[in-house]
């Protein structure tokens, strides 16, 4: 399968501080790629470069076939993005939020109508369509935010700690949605703090102090570090960190 993200020697400096230090990796189409690291390890900076929000200081990379330094506008059309705060407008209704994101990504009106009806049905949100998002429970907001992020059928969706503050049962349901989306050919690029979630990923990279220290399937990583869980793999690597939080 083709690589949808391909990064070579990517570096980001802020003055003397090297936030992301020469990282190289690739992500295949339809893969669920876990992007792990302690706070301050450089995950967010790396992800911002991939989304075209920040220019790399050095190195090259392509996302969805477009150059991250030169074609960020084109990249933005082919990716979805969900931030850790669920990025919905609380004072807009469920339907208005969907319409807004569809509008921003240039989805045709007819398509939008057809697909939003289907989406509301699938999420079992039909009778909540005109409810303000602020009155929805957290788990529902999260599902809705994810659905909005993939409404325009992007090639890749970037999820920045999408399950923060959500209870385990809802997290479980959310991962089912992620699997279903990946099965439809949308690549998932996800950062998380929860090590049990790392186990669900096809492949996992772990960043320490701006560098990628490990990158493999969860199974291989556990074998490599001779431990029985991703949590222990992460602990071993994170202990090497010299940067404070």
């Amino acid at each position: 399968m083709a690589d949808v993200i391909c990064v070579n020697g990517l570096t980001k400096r802020f003055g003397d501080f090297v936030a992301v230090n020469n990282i190289t990796f690739s992500v295949k189409e339809g893969e669920i790629f876990g992007f792990l690291g302690a706070n301050g390890a450089g995950k967010t900076t790396a992800m911002r470069m991939l989304c075209g929000l920040s220019f790399p200081s050095e190195g090259t990379g392509t996302v969805a076939g477009f150059d991250i330094a030169k074609q960020s506008e084109k990249i933005k059309k082919h990716i979805g993005y969900m931030s850790q705060k669920f990025s919905l407008y609380e004072d807009l209704t469920v339907m208005e939020n969907i319409q807004l994101y569809a509008g921003i990504y240039g989805v045709e009106k007819e398509t939008m109508k057809r697909e939003s009806t289907a989406l509301l049905k699938k999420l079992d949100f039909e009778n909540k369509k005109d409810t303000l998002v602020s009155s929805l429970p957290l788990g529902w907001k999260q599902k809705l935010a994810f659905s909005a992020a993939i409404f325009h059928h992007p090639k890749i969706v970037f999820l920045d700690e999408p399950t923060g503050g959500v209870d385990p049962a809802t997290r479980r349901q959310f991962w089912e949605m992620i699997y279903e989306t990946a099965a439809n050919g949308i690549t998932i690029f996800v950062t998380t703090h929860y090590m049990d979630e790392a186990e669900y990923c096809n492949r996992v990279s772990i960043m320490v102090d701006g560098k990628i220290e490990a990158l493999n399937t969860p199974k291989n990583l556990k074998e490599q570090f001779h431990v029985d869980s991703m949590s222990k793999v992460f602990d071993q690597l994170a202990r090497r960190a010299k940067r404070g939080e």
């Binding site: 989304c51 931030s83 004072d91």
Partner: protein, 368 residues
């Protein structure tokens, strides 16, 4: 374009669902105009007046009656002794006392020197000077009518004409000031708060990761506030003209054109604040301290900038509102043509260009 419309629709929902915002945006300007126009005014009414006359003559009675009939004055009574002047003023039984010299009437009729003494409670110097002017004018009017029958009036060598605002209505002065204040409030404060709110809630990140260009996000954010500012401009002008009888003597076209320029300036100020502030509170504070205070105190809205100490006068020169208010007073009240406000227009244009330039620079640095 659809993208842009979808975004503006969202902004409309934000404002529409926030009742407080609606109150601030639409009701407050009207309330302020009415407050400043009627309740808060520096016009002085019902001045309590007492008279100390050596003799209770028919003329004094008539004088008291005329003073009492004038809505500006209330006649509170005749005094008997000089000591009572201090007593009345001190206890606020009277604001003003008039003392007539002995033989006043005889001397008036004979055209001799006649000095009337007006004593005013000058605890509040502004009010005192207005009161003494009013009473002097009133006395002059009454006495010249009463006494000059058949006698050549004593023409004063000084003849004061109050041009453009003969009734000295304070609302004439306040309306341009309120326009200056409201536009800063709506355009700068509300716009910056609404942009910073998106930063705080994390939605700005999502918008920046979308194909929408950062600059069109900013423009789309400004459009509803620009619209609201225009509605306010119209409602203020209508109220000023029909309710407060502010004349709008100058060219209507230039009044509106200059106001639009000022609205754009205020919007770019709002944008600049939003690039500096990280939280809504910070944006509010910057707007309140850096904008509102100087605008209210130094722009000439309430206190004339000409009478400030030099250092404050220099500061007032960098406040855009000062130039806007000055231009509006000239256009609306004095009714001059645009050539006479060119200085203000150029300064406002220069300031707008300068603020937009800094904003664009700051904005690009942020996106890095």
């Amino acid at each position: 374009m659809n993208q842009f419309l979808a975004f503006i629709k969202k902004e409309f929902f934000h404002i529409y669902r926030d009742k407080r915002a609606i109150l601030i945006l639409l009701v407050m300007p009207i309330a302020q105009i009415l407050l400043f126009g009627f309740a808060i005014s520096t016009d002085v009414k019902n001045i309590k007046t007492a008279i100390l006359a050596p003799k209770h003559t028919e003329m004094m009675e008539r004088l008291a009656e005329e003073i009492d009939q004038n809505p500006r004055f209330d006649f509170v009574g005749f005094l008997q002794t000089e000591n009572e002047i201090d007593n009345y003023l001190r206890t606020n039984k009277a604001d003003v006392t008039i003392t007539f010299p002995a033989n006043f009437e005889n001397e008036v009729y004979s055209g001799l020197d006649n000095r009337v003494c007006i004593s005013v409670n000058a605890t509040d110097p502004n009010t005192a000077s207005i009161e003494s002017n009013y009473i002097a004018q009133e006395l002059y009017n009454i006495l010249s009518e009463k006494t000059m029958k058949g006698i050549e009036p004593q023409a004063s060598p000084i003849n004061v004409r109050l041009m453009y605002n003969p009734q000295m209505k304070s609302s004439f002065n306040f309306v341009p000031g309120i326009m200056g204040l409201i536009m800063i409030l709506i355009c700068a404060m509300m716009t910056s708060v609404s942009i910073v709110r998106e930063k705080e809630s994390g939605t700005m990140e999502v918008l920046l990761a979308s194909p929408m260009k950062p600059f069109s996000i900013m423009i789309a954010k400004m459009v509803p506030y620009f619209g609201l500012a225009c509605i306010n401009l119209i409602s203020i002008l209508l109220l000023a003209y029909f309710v407060l009888d502010v004349p709008l003597t100058g060219s209507f076209f230039w009044i509106v054109a200059l106001s639009l320029l000022y609205i754009i300036l205020a919007l770019s100020l709002g944008l600049l604040i939003s690039t500096l502030a990280e939280t809504q509170i910070a944006a509010m504070l910057i707007s309140a301290i850096v904008l509102m205070m100087p605008v209210i105190l130094l722009s000439g809205m309430i206190f004339p900038s000409e009478s400030m100490p030099p250092i404050l006068e220099y500061i007032s020169k960098i406040i855009p509102t000062r130039w806007y208010i000055s231009a509006m007073r000239k256009l609306m009240i004095q009714g001059v043509s645009i050539e006479y406000v060119l200085k203000e227009v150029y300064i406002l244009l220069g300031m707008t260009a300068f603020i937009i330039a800094i904003t664009i620079k700051k904005f690009k640095i942020r996106l890095e």
